[in-house]
C-alpha cells in the first residue's frame, strides 16, 4: 500500500483559536479512512484545508507527491481530490444528467475557439461527458430521474446526486463531508452500501468525516481520531474503538454536530 495523501504538521489558527495543531496523517491508495472526533475537534477544518477552501497557517498537504497546500479548490480537483458538501449541494435548476455532466468539468475542458464553434473536439468531449454521466446514473440506479430537475428531488436523492457530481470529476481520493447527515438509519445504510459499491467499482480512496458510528464501522478500514485539533488515535477500526483515550474523548458519547 502506498500513501497518496500526506498531511504533515498542519496548523490552522483563527485569531487566537487553534483549530488544527500540527496534524499529520496519511491516506493510502484504495483505502477508506474515517476522520472522527468530538465537536470542534477540527475535522471540518482539516477537510476545508485539504480541499482548498482554507489556506493553512502552516504545514503541508501533498497528494501523490505534489504539494497542494493552499491551492484553490478548482486546482486541487485536477489532482484527483474531490469533495462533497455536508448539506445537499446540487445545481438546483439543472437536470440530474446535466448536474453530473457539470461535475465532470475537468474532463470536458476544451479550447475557447473549439467551444465557441462547437468544434469536433468539443462535441466529442461533451458526448463523452454525457455517456459517463449516464454510466454514473446507472451505477446509482436512478435512470428514471435522469431528466428531472435536481432541485425537485427528495433529500436522499439529492445527497446521492451530490456524490455522483463529485464522482464525475474522476477523483482518486473522494472527500465525503458527513454523507449521512440528515438521513435516517435505513437511508444511511443504503448510502453506505452505495459508497461501498462505488469504491469497489471505481477503485478509489475515500476520506470521510462522519458521526453515524454504524456508517463508520461498516465503511472504514481505518480511523483517525481528532481532539482539540490534535490526532489522538490512528489505526484499524476495531483497535481504535478499544483505545481508552478515544472512548473517553468521543466514542460512546452521543453527539451529532461539528463546529
Amino acid at each position: 500500500m502506498t500513501a497518496i495523501l500526506e498531511v504533515s504538521d498542519l496548523t490552522m489558527r483563527f485569531g487566537g483559536l487553534t483549530a488544527l495543531d500540527s496534524l499529520s496523517f496519511k491516506v493510502n491508495d484504495h483505502e477508506t479512512v474515517g476522520l472522527i472526533g468530538p465537536n470542534g475537534a477540527g475535522k471540518t477544518t482539516a477537510f476545508n484545508v485539504i480541499s482548498g477552501v482554507l489556506a493553512p497557517t502552516s504545514g503541508t498537504v501533498h497528494y501523490r507527491g505534489s504539494a497542494i497546500t493552499g491551492l484553490p479548490t478548482h486546482r486541487i480537483v485536477r489532482h484527483g481530490v474531490v469533495r462533497t458538501f455536508q448539506s445537499t449541494s446540487v445545481f438546483a435548476k439543472a437536470s440530474v444528467l446535466d448536474n453530473i455532466v457539470c461535475g465532470g468539468f475537468v474532463n470536458w475542458e476544451t479550447g475557447f475557439v473549439s467551444n465557441l464553434f462547437n468544434g469536433a473536439k468539443t462535441r466529442a468531449t461533451q458526448a463523452a461527458a454525457r455517456d459517463r454521466a449516464m454510466e454514473l446514473i446507472r451505477l446509482a440506479g436512478i435512470e428514471e430521474l435522469a431528466h428531472s430537475a435536481a432541485g425537485e428531488l427528495s433529500y436522499g436523492h439529492q445527497k446521492r446526486l451530490g456524490l455522483l457530481v463529485a464522482l464525475a470529476a474522476s477523483p482518486s481520493l473522494l472527500l465525503l463531508d458527513e454523507p449521512a447527515a440528515g438521513l435516517n438509519a435505513e437511508e444511511s445504510e443504503e448510502l453506505a452500501e452505495f459508497i461501498r459499491s462505488v469504491k469497489q467499482q471505481l477503485q478509489i480512496a475515500v476520506l470521510l468525516v462522519e458521526h453515524h458510528i454504524e456508517m463508520i464501522t461498516s465503511l472504514c478500514d481505518r480511523l483517525i481520531v481528532l481532539e482539540y485539533g490534535r490526532k489522538i488515535a490512528d489505526g484499524p477500526v476495531a483497535e481504535v474503538r478499544q483505545d481508552p483515550r478515544v472512548v473517553d474523548a468521543y466514542l460512546g458519547v452521543d453527539d451529532d454536530d461539528d463546529a
Partner: protein, 334 residues
C-alpha cells in the same frame, strides 16, 4: 443564490438544453415575432421609424452585453464606461487616424476588452458587493479621465465632428443603410452570445451562478469564467458604443454616466435576463417610449422604476420569460 433562481417562472428543466432542442418552439416563436418586425421599418420607410429602429438595435446590442455579465450573477455598473471606451476609441481612430469605420469598431472592441480584462482581474476576485462598488467607481473614473484629457476627449464639449459611417467606400449614414447595417450587427451579436451560452462556457457560467461552491468543487475556476463573462459583455458594449458614436455623430463624457448603465439594466430586466432575446425585447419595449413621449420624462422614469421593481417581484424572467412559457405551451411541453 439558488432561491433567486427557484422563483424563476421558467420551469426548472428549461435551462441547459442541447442545441437541437433549443432550435425548436422557442426560436420559432421569436422568429415569427422578430423577422416581420425587423422588416417593418423598410416597408414604412419613414425617417422617424428608421431612427427609432436604429436606436432599438443599438440598445439591444449594448443590453445583450450586460446580459452576458449578469449570467455569472454579477452586475456591472461600468457598462456605460465600456460603451464610452468603445465610442471614444472608434471615433478617435476615425477622426485622428482616418481608420475605416469597420476597423474602428474592431479597435473599439479591443479597447473595451483590454480595459475589461484589467478591471476584471483587479476586482472580480472580490465579493459581489465590492464588485458592484468597484464598477460604479470605475464608471466615475472613466468620466473623470475623459474630462481631465480635453486634448483627446474634447473635454466637456465632447467630440462632435465624427464622420458618417462608411463601409467599403459606401456611405451608410442614410437611415435605411444604417438600419440594415445595425440590424445585421445585432444579429451578429445575438449569434455570438448564443454561441457562448450554448457552449461549455455557458454551462460553466450557469454552474457558477447556480451554485458557486459546488462549481468550484467540480473544478470550474470561477475567476476565469467571471472575467470571461465580464470581458465578453464589455466588448459588446464597446462595439455598441462605437456604432453609437458613428450614428449620433457626437459623444461626450456625459453620454456614458451611471444612468447609461441604469437604463441598460432596466431594459435587461424588463426584457428578461435568462433569455438571449430578452435584451432585444427590453430594447424594443423601452426605447420608443422616450422618443414618442418626449414631454413626460420624469413620469416615465418613475414608471420605469415601478416596472423594474414589479418585474423583479412578479416575473423575474421578464417579458421573454412569458414568451418562453408561451412557446413551451405551444410545443406541448408543460
Amino acid at each position: 443564490m439558488s432561491e433567486l433562481q427557484q422563483t424563476n417562472p421558467v420551469p426548472a428543466t428549461a435551462k441547459w438544453k442541447i442545441p437541437q432542442e433549443f432550435l425548436t418552439a422557442k426560436s420559432a416563436t421569436y422568429c415569427a415575432l422578430f423577422l416581420p418586425l425587423a422588416a417593418l421599418p423598410l416597408l414604412i420607410d419613414s425617417s422617424f421609424v428608421y431612427h427609432i429602429a436604429i436606436l432599438v438595435c443599438l440598445n439591444a446590442i449594448i443590453t445583450s452585453g450586460l446580459g452576458v455579465i449578469v449570467r455569472v450573477d454579477q452586475l456591472s455598473l461600468a457598462h456605460g464606461a465600456f460603451a464610452g471606451i468603445g465610442a471614444y476609441a472608434s471615433a478617435l481612430a476615425v477622426i485622428k487616424l482616418g481608420v475605416p469605420f469597420l476597423l474602428s469598431l474592431v479597435l473599439a472592441a479591443l479597447a473595451a476588452g483590454v480595459a475589461a480584462v484589467l478591471l476584471g482581474r483587479l476586482v472580480l476576485g472580490l465579493k459581489g458587493v465590492y464588485f458592484v462598488l468597484a464598477t460604479f467607481a470605475f464608471n466615475e473614473l472613466f468620466r473623470m479621465i475623459m474630462l481631465l484629457l480635453p486634448e483627446i476627449s474634447g473635454g466637456t464639449n465632447g467630440l462632435s465632428n465624427i464622420p458618417a459611417a462608411e463601409i467599403a467606400g459606401l456611405e451608410i449614414s442614410s437611415k435605411p443603410g444604417f438600419y440594415i447595417f445595425i440590424a445585421l450587427a445585432l444579429a451578429a451579436t445575438l449569434l455570438v452570445v448564443w454561441m457562448i451560452l450554448r457552449s461549455p462556457i455557458g454551462r460553466a457560467f450557469d454552474a457558477i451562478s447556480g451554485n458557486l461552491p459546488l462549481a468550484q468543487a467540480s473544478g470550474i475556476p470561477p475567476r476565469r469564467y467571471q472575467i470571461l463573462a465580464f470581458t465578453s459583455g464589455s466588448v459588446i458594449a464597446g462595439v455598441g458604443g462605437g456604432i453609437m458614436a458613428a450614428y449620433v455623430g457626437f459623444i461626450s463624457p456625459e453620454s456614458f454616466t451611471f444612468w447609461f448603465s441604469v437604463n441598460t439594466i432596466i431594459m435587461l430586466i424588463v426584457g428578461g435576463r435568462y433569455s438571449i432575446m430578452g435584451p432585444v425585447l427590453g430594447a424594443l419595449l423601452l426605447t420608443p417610449l422616450p422618443e414618442v413621449l418626449r414631454s413626460t420624462g420624469q413620469l416615465q422614469q418613475i414608471i420605469y422604476g415601478v416596472c423594474l421593481i414589479a418585474i423583479l417581484r412578479f416575473m423575474p424572467g421578464g417579458v421573454s420569460g412569458l414568451i418562453d412559457r408561451f412557446a413551451e405551451l405551444m410545443s406541448g411541453r408543460k
